[in-house]
Symmetry: D3
Subunit: 136 residues, 6 copies
């Protein structure tokens, strides 16, 4: 008997879309105003979804208090009120698109979960633009 539990969280951060390998002009051509060298920012809304068997003792797929703590340690502490490009190790060399941020979040949380649990990440960059990253 399987189910998926979801936990919402959020963080506020600055970023710019930017590849070091490209000229400023080409970054601006591809990413437009999202590549502003002075940065812009978002209230990122995050949904972490964990699928697995419902434990017959607890009635939980996993304890959401534990998931909340994992999100806090892995995502909120390192990302909240930060400049993603300058202050988060992963994005010093990786363009912080919503797709790439979702993948990084997926990897950071995945390594904290039991192997039998499946993980999906949904990340809202704005209320109108969002991304889902899941495992195959």
């Amino acid at each position: 008997m399987k189910a998926t539990v979801h936990r919402k969280a959020h963080f506020n951060a600055a970023h710019r879309l930017f590849r070091k390998e490209w000229t400023d002009a080409y970054n601006a051509e591809v990413f437009g105003k999202c590549s502003n060298p002075n940065y812009h920012g978002h209230n990122y809304e995050l949904i972490v979804s964990v699928s697995g068997e419902i434990n017959q003792q607890t009635g939980f797929v996993m304890d959401l208090k534990i998931l909340k703590d994992i999100i806090y340690e892995e995502i909120e502490i390192p990302f909240d009120h930060k400049n993603l490009n300058l202050e988060v190790e992963e994005f010093k060399t990786l363009n912080p698109t919503a797709e790439n941020i979702s993948h990084v979040i997926w990897k950071k949380i995945k390594k904290r979960l039991d192997n039998n649990l499946k993980l999906e990440i949904t990340l809202y960059e704005t209320p109108r633009n969002f991304v889902t990253y899941t495992e195959d």
Copy 2:
């Protein structure tokens, strides 16, 4: 040509996380403040999702007025403004976690639907904690 139709509903209820087989101390250890013996409560938001062929005559997967009535009879009448542990038969012996409530809702609605329709239940316990239960 298949689609999924979704209908939102809600109910307000009291509950506590609790297993009779466990001591009060162990219930408190596992479930924390969610096991308060005096109960606490939630505005549960429910999404009922039904997948199937689009009927070429009506353009419906199923008539949402009928689904609305099924949800009202099976879920809102027995659950709304109730104490789930004390007043809903299924939870007298089953711990009312969001996972277990979703499964109970799934079973109650499933038996009212045509066999060729697939059912998924999403239940928000709070705006930040929610669960999805679907069939394999």
Copy 3:
């Protein structure tokens, strides 16, 4: 490495549920107040979801600015502030249920996307009634 990007949009339109092949009495019996001959209307909220590989150069599944423009041209221009039954070609002969509108939107956007991208449409007719249309 795959992900899904989602873009929200909306349009306001009038419609009625109605099949020409049926008598007015039978339309009223099947569709109730949704078949009012004088029309009623909705603020349709639309989520367009596109799945595919994350491009290693851009970090995008697809550029959401381009998707936004496709939605504007294919859906917002022809549907917004229109009477769907009278003014949108597809619904002159097709009953504009949320299921059928989703399918029409799917076909109009699908033909504008690269072949390797998968498309899913979610359409809210009201905050409580919505539909998902996806490819097999």
Copy 4:
């Protein structure tokens, strides 16, 4: 000891902005696509706010079950799934802008309330456009 109680409701309707006294061309010039002769429509979201003394016996400004019934009788029954211009008496001669609809709703509910209660109406035509009508 005063407070304000609020009750949300909604209705779906078709309308067009239009003054009979004006030519079609002038209506189109002033109201743009909102004046489409074939109508368009909205999911109107309504907040009814009633201010007054908290009754020391009940702890209520007024019983929200009663307010819910008044809204149902005065607004939802006559407005929901209707064409406001053609089927609602007040708008046969009054342009159904959000301002005017709010004023009509205010008058219809006001006459059902005790004289010592103050009434404010908030009407969302879309999630981005809304109006507040209150008494002086």
Copy 5:
């Protein structure tokens, strides 16, 4: 130069509408299913609004981190995951309607604020029923 700052918070609690001075039958007659002796519950959403001069040094009406801590200490700790009737001192003798809960919250936070600040409380019992309490 004045402004109002708002901070949202929430708590989940059980309650019943009930006056000890009344018979059970009369409580049921006045409060209906909200008077269920086994309790029901809500996700209460709270908006605390503080008005005053914008400090020319900080640019703040008041530091929202401090307001967040006051709400946590005065409201979330004593109310969250509690049975309001049984476990919150104020409601042992006061009927916990949304109006009365708002007034209690107003008094608890007011005594923690500078005298020159004006306080307003908005409390959502459900997404459709809410109350505003303000000072004269």
Copy 6:
């Protein structure tokens, strides 16, 4: 016969809370992580509220299409995808707290409105922190 019309808009921007007159250490002490020298950012949600007489010809307090254009020119163009501290003239010498941003927005829109209209600004820095600025 008066009413208030409201228009929602949004912009995404980077900022930091910071006063040049203060040392970095004192900025950090007062503003905490909001003073991060590398900036952070927000999806600012804006509600512009305009109060006045309902025009008996149009049924409008003011045409929301005109208000939408004013917001676009005065706020969205200069603020969206910008670093408020570095790229918006007003905040080169003014700390961009939500209170101060609201006041700047109020002044920029106010000068574009008819004198008989009253203006109120509501600015959401996050879904949980927001500010209202109004005239006396």
